[in-house]
Amino acid sequence: MTVVVVGAGLAGLRAAEAVRGHGLAVTVLGDERHLPYNRPPLSKAALRESATAADLAFRIRRDDLGWRLGQPVVGLDLYRREVLLADDTVPFDALIIATGIRPRVLPVPGPPPMVLRTVEDAEALRRALTPGRRLLIIGAGFIGCEVAATARAMGCAVTVCAADAEPMIRPLGEHLGAGLRRRHEQAGVEFHLGVGVSGYEPSGVTLSDGRTLTADVILSAVGSVPNTQWCAGNGLDLVDGVLTDNRLCAVRTTAAGEEGAEAPVLAVGDIARFPNPLFDEVPRRIEHWSMPTDTGRRAGAVIAALLAGQSPALDFRPLPSFWSDQYDATLQSFGMPALGVPTLASGSWDGDCIVEYHRDDVLVGVVGVNRTRELATYRPRIGSVSDASQPAAD
Protein backbone atom coordinates (compact mmCIF):
# COMPACT_ATOMS: atom_id res chain seq x y z
CA MET A 1 0.00 0.00 0.00
CA THR A 2 1.42 3.37 -1.00
CA VAL A 3 -0.02 6.69 0.03
CA VAL A 4 0.95 9.66 -2.13
CA VAL A 5 0.75 13.17 -0.72
CA VAL A 6 0.75 15.93 -3.32
CA GLY A 7 2.05 19.14 -1.79
CA ALA A 8 5.11 19.57 0.43
CA GLY A 9 3.90 22.34 2.72
CA LEU A 10 2.92 22.05 6.36
CA ALA A 11 -0.29 20.13 5.61
CA GLY A 12 1.50 17.64 3.38
CA LEU A 13 4.19 17.14 6.01
CA ARG A 14 1.80 16.55 8.90
CA ALA A 15 -0.36 14.24 6.77
CA ALA A 16 2.69 12.24 5.68
CA GLU A 17 3.95 11.92 9.25
CA ALA A 18 0.53 10.74 10.39
CA VAL A 19 0.18 8.24 7.54
CA ARG A 20 3.64 6.82 8.21
CA GLY A 21 2.85 6.70 11.90
CA HIS A 22 0.05 4.29 11.03
CA GLY A 23 2.57 2.00 9.33
CA LEU A 24 1.88 2.92 5.71
CA ALA A 25 4.50 3.84 3.11
CA VAL A 26 4.22 7.42 1.97
CA THR A 27 5.73 9.61 -0.75
CA VAL A 28 5.41 13.40 -0.76
CA LEU A 29 5.52 15.30 -4.06
CA GLY A 30 6.35 19.02 -3.97
CA ASP A 31 6.69 21.68 -6.65
CA GLU A 32 9.12 23.79 -4.60
CA ARG A 33 12.59 22.31 -4.30
CA HIS A 34 12.64 22.84 -0.52
CA LEU A 35 11.58 20.60 2.30
CA PRO A 36 8.51 22.04 4.08
CA TYR A 37 9.15 25.43 5.66
CA ASN A 38 7.22 27.85 7.82
CA ARG A 39 5.61 30.67 5.84
CA PRO A 40 4.32 33.15 8.48
CA PRO A 41 7.85 34.54 9.14
CA LEU A 42 8.06 35.55 5.44
CA SER A 43 6.08 38.71 6.18
CA LYS A 44 7.89 39.41 9.45
CA ALA A 45 11.31 38.22 10.69
CA ALA A 46 12.36 36.65 7.38
CA LEU A 47 11.57 39.93 5.62
CA ARG A 48 13.63 42.03 8.04
CA GLU A 49 16.63 39.72 7.88
CA SER A 50 17.52 37.28 5.17
CA ALA A 51 16.39 33.71 5.81
CA THR A 52 16.72 30.56 3.73
CA ALA A 53 14.24 27.72 3.42
CA ALA A 54 16.61 25.73 5.62
CA ASP A 55 16.41 28.43 8.30
CA LEU A 56 12.61 28.18 8.22
CA ALA A 57 12.38 24.40 7.79
CA PHE A 58 9.93 22.48 9.91
CA ARG A 59 11.21 19.86 12.26
CA ILE A 60 10.38 16.56 10.53
CA ARG A 61 9.56 13.83 12.99
CA ARG A 62 10.36 10.87 10.76
CA ASP A 63 13.28 10.03 8.49
CA ASP A 64 11.35 7.36 6.58
CA LEU A 65 9.16 9.62 4.45
CA GLY A 66 9.74 9.57 0.68
CA TRP A 67 10.29 12.98 -0.91
CA ARG A 68 10.18 14.03 -4.57
CA LEU A 69 10.78 17.77 -4.54
CA GLY A 70 10.99 20.33 -7.34
CA GLN A 71 8.51 18.29 -9.37
CA PRO A 72 5.26 20.09 -10.16
CA VAL A 73 2.27 17.82 -10.56
CA VAL A 74 0.44 18.41 -13.82
CA GLY A 75 -2.50 16.03 -13.63
CA LEU A 76 -4.43 13.31 -11.87
CA ASP A 77 -5.98 10.12 -13.22
CA LEU A 78 -8.18 8.69 -10.49
CA TYR A 79 -9.30 5.80 -12.69
CA ARG A 80 -5.70 4.63 -13.15
CA ARG A 81 -4.73 5.77 -9.65
CA GLU A 82 -1.85 7.83 -10.94
CA VAL A 83 -0.51 11.30 -10.31
CA LEU A 84 1.00 12.80 -13.46
CA LEU A 85 4.31 14.65 -13.43
CA ALA A 86 5.74 16.40 -16.49
CA ASP A 87 7.71 13.29 -17.49
CA ASP A 88 6.62 10.54 -15.12
CA THR A 89 3.62 9.01 -13.38
CA VAL A 90 3.35 8.13 -9.69
CA PRO A 91 0.93 5.33 -8.74
CA PHE A 92 -1.00 5.38 -5.47
CA ASP A 93 -3.37 3.29 -3.38
CA ALA A 94 -4.55 6.37 -1.51
CA LEU A 95 -4.10 10.05 -2.31
CA ILE A 96 -3.86 13.12 -0.11
CA ILE A 97 -4.30 16.47 -1.86
CA ALA A 98 -2.24 19.13 -0.09
CA THR A 99 -1.34 21.58 -2.87
CA GLY A 100 -2.40 24.65 -0.93
CA ILE A 101 -2.92 28.08 -2.37
CA ARG A 102 -1.19 30.66 -4.54
CA PRO A 103 -1.55 34.44 -4.54
CA ARG A 104 -4.60 35.76 -6.35
CA VAL A 105 -3.72 37.97 -9.29
CA LEU A 106 -5.93 40.94 -10.13
CA PRO A 107 -7.03 41.07 -13.79
CA VAL A 108 -5.34 44.41 -14.27
CA PRO A 109 -3.17 45.53 -17.21
CA GLY A 110 0.43 46.62 -16.82
CA PRO A 111 3.64 45.16 -15.39
CA PRO A 112 2.68 42.65 -12.66
CA PRO A 113 3.61 43.61 -9.08
CA MET A 114 5.49 41.48 -6.59
CA VAL A 115 3.69 38.82 -4.52
CA LEU A 116 4.63 37.08 -1.27
CA ARG A 117 4.18 33.34 -1.01
CA THR A 118 7.57 31.61 -1.18
CA VAL A 119 10.91 32.11 0.50
CA GLU A 120 12.22 33.39 -2.85
CA ASP A 121 9.41 35.96 -2.97
CA ALA A 122 10.37 37.15 0.53
CA GLU A 123 14.04 37.47 -0.41
CA ALA A 124 13.19 39.50 -3.52
CA LEU A 125 10.92 41.80 -1.50
CA ARG A 126 13.51 42.16 1.27
CA ARG A 127 16.15 43.27 -1.23
CA ALA A 128 13.73 45.84 -2.65
CA LEU A 129 12.81 47.33 0.73
CA THR A 130 15.84 49.49 1.39
CA PRO A 131 15.36 52.43 3.77
CA GLY A 132 13.56 55.39 2.26
CA ARG A 133 11.93 53.49 -0.58
CA ARG A 134 8.20 53.88 -1.08
CA LEU A 135 6.23 50.62 -0.80
CA LEU A 136 2.67 50.38 -2.08
CA ILE A 137 0.72 47.38 -0.83
CA ILE A 138 -2.45 46.35 -2.63
CA GLY A 139 -4.65 44.51 -0.14
CA ALA A 140 -5.22 44.94 3.60
CA GLY A 141 -5.46 41.33 4.79
CA PHE A 142 -3.00 39.40 6.94
CA ILE A 143 -0.07 39.64 4.55
CA GLY A 144 -0.68 43.24 3.54
CA CYS A 145 -0.93 44.41 7.16
CA GLU A 146 2.06 42.41 8.38
CA VAL A 147 4.27 43.57 5.52
CA ALA A 148 3.18 47.17 6.16
CA ALA A 149 4.31 46.94 9.78
CA THR A 150 7.57 45.20 8.88
CA ALA A 151 8.37 47.66 6.08
CA ARG A 152 7.84 50.63 8.42
CA ALA A 153 10.34 49.05 10.81
CA MET A 154 12.73 48.72 7.85
CA GLY A 155 12.50 52.45 7.19
CA CYS A 156 10.28 52.39 4.12
CA ALA A 157 7.39 54.75 3.39
CA VAL A 158 4.26 52.59 3.22
CA THR A 159 0.92 53.11 1.50
CA VAL A 160 -1.88 50.54 1.55
CA CYS A 161 -4.77 50.53 -0.89
CA ALA A 162 -7.59 48.01 -0.69
CA ALA A 163 -11.13 47.40 -1.86
CA ASP A 164 -12.19 46.62 1.72
CA ALA A 165 -13.41 49.35 4.08
CA GLU A 166 -10.95 48.50 6.86
CA PRO A 167 -7.84 46.33 7.29
CA MET A 168 -8.53 42.66 8.06
CA ILE A 169 -12.23 43.44 8.08
CA ARG A 170 -13.34 39.95 7.09
CA PRO A 171 -11.85 38.04 10.02
CA LEU A 172 -12.01 40.89 12.57
CA GLY A 173 -15.04 43.03 11.73
CA GLU A 174 -15.27 46.78 11.21
CA HIS A 175 -14.48 48.12 14.70
CA LEU A 176 -11.39 46.05 15.39
CA GLY A 177 -10.26 46.58 11.79
CA ALA A 178 -10.54 50.35 12.31
CA GLY A 179 -8.55 50.07 15.55
CA LEU A 180 -5.87 48.18 13.68
CA ARG A 181 -5.85 50.83 10.95
CA ARG A 182 -5.27 53.55 13.56
CA ARG A 183 -2.26 51.61 14.90
CA HIS A 184 -0.86 51.56 11.38
CA GLU A 185 -1.63 55.24 10.84
CA GLN A 186 0.15 56.15 14.08
CA ALA A 187 3.15 54.29 12.68
CA GLY A 188 2.99 56.42 9.53
CA VAL A 189 1.16 54.11 7.10
CA GLU A 190 -1.16 55.86 4.62
CA PHE A 191 -4.42 54.14 3.63
CA HIS A 192 -6.65 54.35 0.56
CA LEU A 193 -9.61 52.10 1.36
CA GLY A 194 -12.75 51.17 -0.52
CA VAL A 195 -10.98 51.59 -3.82
CA GLY A 196 -9.85 49.17 -6.52
CA VAL A 197 -6.84 49.10 -8.80
CA SER A 198 -7.45 49.55 -12.53
CA GLY A 199 -3.91 49.65 -13.88
CA TYR A 200 -0.30 48.88 -12.95
CA GLU A 201 2.30 51.43 -14.03
CA PRO A 202 6.10 51.11 -13.84
CA SER A 203 6.08 53.70 -11.02
CA GLY A 204 2.77 53.11 -9.30
CA VAL A 205 -0.86 52.20 -9.87
CA THR A 206 -3.99 53.79 -11.25
CA LEU A 207 -6.96 53.49 -8.90
CA SER A 208 -10.53 52.77 -9.95
CA ASP A 209 -11.52 56.34 -9.04
CA GLY A 210 -8.94 57.72 -11.47
CA ARG A 211 -6.29 58.76 -8.97
CA THR A 212 -2.72 57.54 -9.27
CA LEU A 213 -0.40 56.41 -6.48
CA THR A 214 3.34 56.42 -7.03
CA ALA A 215 5.72 53.92 -5.47
CA ASP A 216 9.15 52.36 -5.89
CA VAL A 217 7.97 48.87 -4.92
CA ILE A 218 4.48 47.41 -5.43
CA LEU A 219 3.26 44.32 -3.59
CA SER A 220 -0.02 42.61 -4.46
CA ALA A 221 -1.56 40.83 -1.46
CA VAL A 222 -5.18 40.39 -2.46
CA GLY A 223 -5.95 36.92 -1.21
CA SER A 224 -5.34 33.50 -2.63
CA VAL A 225 -6.52 30.87 -5.08
CA PRO A 226 -6.55 27.11 -4.36
CA ASN A 227 -4.13 25.01 -6.42
CA THR A 228 -6.59 22.42 -7.68
CA GLN A 229 -6.35 22.78 -11.45
CA TRP A 230 -4.28 19.58 -11.70
CA CYS A 231 -7.18 17.58 -10.20
CA ALA A 232 -9.68 18.60 -12.89
CA GLY A 233 -11.50 16.00 -14.93
CA ASN A 234 -11.83 13.42 -12.15
CA GLY A 235 -15.33 14.11 -10.86
CA LEU A 236 -14.20 16.07 -7.80
CA ASP A 237 -15.97 19.25 -6.64
CA LEU A 238 -13.31 21.92 -7.19
CA VAL A 239 -15.55 24.99 -7.06
CA ASP A 240 -13.61 26.34 -4.05
CA GLY A 241 -10.72 24.13 -3.02
CA VAL A 242 -11.61 20.44 -2.74
CA LEU A 243 -15.02 19.66 -1.27
CA THR A 244 -14.78 16.87 1.32
CA ASP A 245 -16.94 15.28 3.97
CA ASN A 246 -16.10 15.43 7.66
CA ARG A 247 -13.61 12.56 7.18
CA LEU A 248 -11.77 14.86 4.72
CA CYS A 249 -12.62 12.39 1.93
CA ALA A 250 -13.21 14.17 -1.38
CA VAL A 251 -16.83 14.24 -2.49
CA ARG A 252 -17.20 12.61 -5.92
CA THR A 253 -19.66 14.22 -8.28
CA THR A 254 -19.71 11.25 -10.63
CA ALA A 255 -21.14 7.83 -9.84
CA ALA A 256 -18.83 5.37 -8.10
CA GLY A 257 -18.37 1.85 -9.40
CA GLU A 258 -15.24 2.31 -11.46
CA GLU A 259 -12.10 0.70 -10.14
CA GLY A 260 -10.41 4.01 -9.41
CA ALA A 261 -13.36 5.29 -7.45
CA GLU A 262 -12.49 2.95 -4.59
CA ALA A 263 -9.15 4.56 -3.83
CA PRO A 264 -9.34 6.93 -0.85
CA VAL A 265 -8.82 10.55 -1.90
CA LEU A 266 -8.51 13.12 0.88
CA ALA A 267 -7.75 16.83 1.03
CA VAL A 268 -5.91 18.66 3.81
CA GLY A 269 -4.78 22.16 4.72
CA ASP A 270 -5.84 25.41 3.08
CA ILE A 271 -7.74 23.76 0.23
CA ALA A 272 -9.86 21.25 2.18
CA ARG A 273 -13.46 22.50 2.21
CA PHE A 274 -15.08 20.42 4.94
CA PRO A 275 -17.99 20.70 7.38
CA ASN A 276 -16.94 21.37 10.97
CA PRO A 277 -19.73 20.44 13.41
CA LEU A 278 -18.09 22.65 16.03
CA PHE A 279 -19.94 25.41 14.14
CA ASP A 280 -22.43 23.93 11.64
CA GLU A 281 -22.70 21.63 8.63
CA VAL A 282 -21.50 24.17 6.03
CA PRO A 283 -18.28 23.07 4.29
CA ARG A 284 -15.63 25.79 4.48
CA ARG A 285 -11.98 26.28 3.62
CA ILE A 286 -9.98 27.78 6.49
CA GLU A 287 -6.64 29.37 5.65
CA HIS A 288 -5.38 29.51 9.23
CA TRP A 289 -2.05 28.17 10.37
CA SER A 290 -3.55 25.60 12.74
CA MET A 291 -5.54 23.79 10.05
CA PRO A 292 -2.71 21.99 8.22
CA THR A 293 -1.64 20.23 11.39
CA ASP A 294 -5.19 19.36 12.47
CA THR A 295 -6.30 18.16 9.03
CA GLY A 296 -3.00 16.36 8.38
CA ARG A 297 -3.30 14.31 11.55
CA ARG A 298 -6.93 13.59 10.79
CA ALA A 299 -6.15 12.44 7.25
CA GLY A 300 -3.56 9.96 8.50
CA ALA A 301 -6.03 8.39 10.89
CA VAL A 302 -8.81 8.27 8.29
CA ILE A 303 -6.66 6.64 5.60
CA ALA A 304 -5.38 4.04 8.04
CA ALA A 305 -8.95 3.22 9.04
CA LEU A 306 -10.23 3.06 5.44
CA LEU A 307 -7.40 0.85 4.23
CA ALA A 308 -8.08 -1.45 7.19
CA GLY A 309 -11.74 -1.68 6.16
CA GLN A 310 -13.00 0.41 9.08
CA SER A 311 -15.29 3.44 9.12
CA PRO A 312 -13.74 6.57 10.63
CA ALA A 313 -15.94 8.44 13.08
CA LEU A 314 -17.54 11.69 11.87
CA ASP A 315 -16.28 13.61 14.88
CA PHE A 316 -13.67 15.94 13.39
CA ARG A 317 -14.24 19.33 14.99
CA PRO A 318 -10.99 21.29 14.99
CA LEU A 319 -10.82 24.70 16.64
CA PRO A 320 -9.27 27.12 14.11
CA SER A 321 -6.79 29.66 15.40
CA PHE A 322 -4.61 32.37 13.93
CA TRP A 323 -2.03 34.90 15.05
CA SER A 324 -0.68 38.09 13.64
CA ASP A 325 2.08 40.40 14.85
CA GLN A 326 1.97 44.04 13.83
CA TYR A 327 4.13 46.57 15.69
CA ASP A 328 3.64 45.91 19.42
CA ALA A 329 0.26 44.23 18.86
CA THR A 330 -0.11 40.47 18.97
CA LEU A 331 -3.48 39.49 17.59
CA GLN A 332 -4.69 36.02 18.39
CA SER A 333 -7.94 34.33 17.44
CA PHE A 334 -9.76 31.14 18.32
CA GLY A 335 -12.80 29.87 16.46
CA MET A 336 -14.34 31.56 13.42
CA PRO A 337 -14.96 35.21 14.30
CA ALA A 338 -16.07 35.93 10.72
CA LEU A 339 -19.26 33.93 11.42
CA GLY A 340 -20.36 36.15 14.31
CA VAL A 341 -21.20 39.67 15.43
CA PRO A 342 -18.41 41.33 17.43
CA THR A 343 -18.85 42.59 20.98
CA LEU A 344 -16.09 44.32 22.93
CA ALA A 345 -15.58 42.19 26.04
CA SER A 346 -12.73 44.15 27.62
CA GLY A 347 -10.28 46.90 26.76
CA SER A 348 -10.81 49.29 23.85
CA TRP A 349 -11.12 48.87 20.08
CA ASP A 350 -7.98 50.96 19.57
CA GLY A 351 -5.86 49.32 22.25
CA ASP A 352 -5.38 45.98 23.92
CA CYS A 353 -8.70 44.17 24.07
CA ILE A 354 -10.74 41.00 23.86
CA VAL A 355 -13.58 40.83 21.35
CA GLU A 356 -16.23 38.09 21.44
CA TYR A 357 -18.06 37.05 18.27
CA HIS A 358 -21.55 35.56 18.69
CA ARG A 359 -23.89 33.98 16.17
CA ASP A 360 -27.33 33.87 17.76
CA ASP A 361 -26.45 32.91 21.32
CA VAL A 362 -23.40 30.86 20.44
CA LEU A 363 -19.83 32.07 20.92
CA VAL A 364 -18.25 31.27 17.54
CA GLY A 365 -14.99 33.16 17.91
CA VAL A 366 -12.82 35.33 20.10
CA VAL A 367 -9.99 37.69 19.20
CA GLY A 368 -7.51 39.22 21.60
CA VAL A 369 -4.95 41.96 21.16
CA ASN A 370 -2.06 41.41 23.59
CA ARG A 371 -4.30 39.26 25.81
CA THR A 372 -2.93 35.79 25.09
CA ARG A 373 -3.25 34.34 28.56
CA GLU A 374 -6.76 35.58 29.17
CA LEU A 375 -7.83 34.50 25.70
CA ALA A 376 -6.99 30.88 26.43
CA THR A 377 -9.82 30.66 28.93
CA TYR A 378 -12.31 31.19 26.09
CA ARG A 379 -11.29 28.12 24.13
CA PRO A 380 -13.57 25.53 25.75
CA ARG A 381 -16.59 27.82 25.33
CA ILE A 382 -16.35 28.16 21.57
CA GLY A 383 -18.72 26.16 19.41
CA SER A 384 -22.26 25.06 18.97
CA VAL A 385 -22.50 22.03 21.18
CA SER A 386 -21.44 20.99 24.64
CA ASP A 387 -18.51 18.80 23.63
CA ALA A 388 -16.45 21.73 22.37
CA SER A 389 -13.54 21.17 24.69
CA GLN A 390 -11.84 18.54 22.55
CA PRO A 391 -10.77 20.27 19.35
CA ALA A 392 -8.82 18.34 16.78
CA ALA A 393 -9.17 15.00 18.56
CA ASP A 394 -8.50 12.04 16.32
Binding site: P40, R61, T293, D325, R373
Partner: protein
Protein backbone atom coordinates in the same frame (compact mmCIF):
# COMPACT_ATOMS: atom_id res chain seq x y z
CA UNK B 1 13.96 13.91 27.21
CA UNK B 2 15.29 17.44 27.25
CA UNK B 3 13.28 20.42 26.07
CA UNK B 4 14.83 23.60 24.71
CA UNK B 5 12.84 26.67 23.76
CA UNK B 6 14.52 29.35 21.65
CA UNK B 7 13.32 32.37 23.60
CA UNK B 8 14.48 34.71 20.84
CA UNK B 9 11.91 33.06 18.58
CA UNK B 10 9.17 32.44 21.18
CA UNK B 11 6.35 35.00 20.98
CA UNK B 12 4.38 33.60 23.93
CA UNK B 13 1.44 32.49 21.79
CA UNK B 14 0.83 29.68 24.26
CA UNK B 15 -0.18 27.03 21.74
CA UNK B 16 2.19 24.56 23.40
CA UNK B 17 0.33 24.94 26.69
CA UNK B 18 -2.77 23.33 25.18
CA UNK B 19 -0.90 20.28 23.91
CA UNK B 20 1.35 19.67 26.94
CA UNK B 21 -0.04 21.64 29.89
CA UNK B 22 2.11 19.86 32.46
CA UNK B 23 5.28 20.97 30.66
CA UNK B 24 4.43 24.42 29.23
CA UNK B 25 2.51 27.29 30.83
CA UNK B 26 2.14 31.04 30.59
CA UNK B 27 2.84 32.95 33.82
CA UNK B 28 0.76 35.83 35.16
CA UNK B 29 2.47 38.20 32.73
CA UNK B 30 1.71 35.92 29.79
CA UNK B 31 5.33 34.82 29.45
CA UNK B 32 6.23 31.21 28.73
CA UNK B 33 7.53 29.05 31.56
CA UNK B 34 8.45 25.43 30.89
CA UNK B 35 10.20 22.37 32.23
CA UNK B 36 13.56 21.60 30.65
CA UNK B 37 13.19 17.86 31.37
CA UNK B 38 10.13 15.69 30.86
CA UNK B 39 9.37 12.01 31.30
CA UNK B 40 9.32 10.02 28.06
CA UNK B 41 5.70 9.11 28.83
CA UNK B 42 4.91 12.68 27.79
CA UNK B 43 6.69 12.34 24.44
CA UNK B 44 3.49 12.45 22.36
CA UNK B 45 2.25 15.59 24.08
CA UNK B 46 5.59 17.35 23.90
CA UNK B 47 6.02 16.43 20.23
CA UNK B 48 2.55 17.79 19.53
CA UNK B 49 3.46 20.99 21.37
CA UNK B 50 6.56 21.41 19.21
CA UNK B 51 4.47 20.79 16.07
CA UNK B 52 1.93 23.51 16.84
CA UNK B 53 4.41 26.21 17.85
CA UNK B 54 3.85 28.96 15.25
CA UNK B 55 7.44 30.12 15.65
CA UNK B 56 8.84 26.54 15.62
CA UNK B 57 10.85 27.51 18.70
CA UNK B 58 10.74 24.17 20.54
CA UNK B 59 13.52 21.59 20.26
CA UNK B 60 13.28 18.15 21.84
CA UNK B 61 16.28 15.98 22.59
CA UNK B 62 15.25 12.42 23.26
CA UNK B 63 17.37 10.51 25.79
Amino acid sequence: MKIIVDLDKCQNYGQCTFEAPTVFALDNDGVLVYQTEADSALADDVNAAADVCPMQAITIIHD
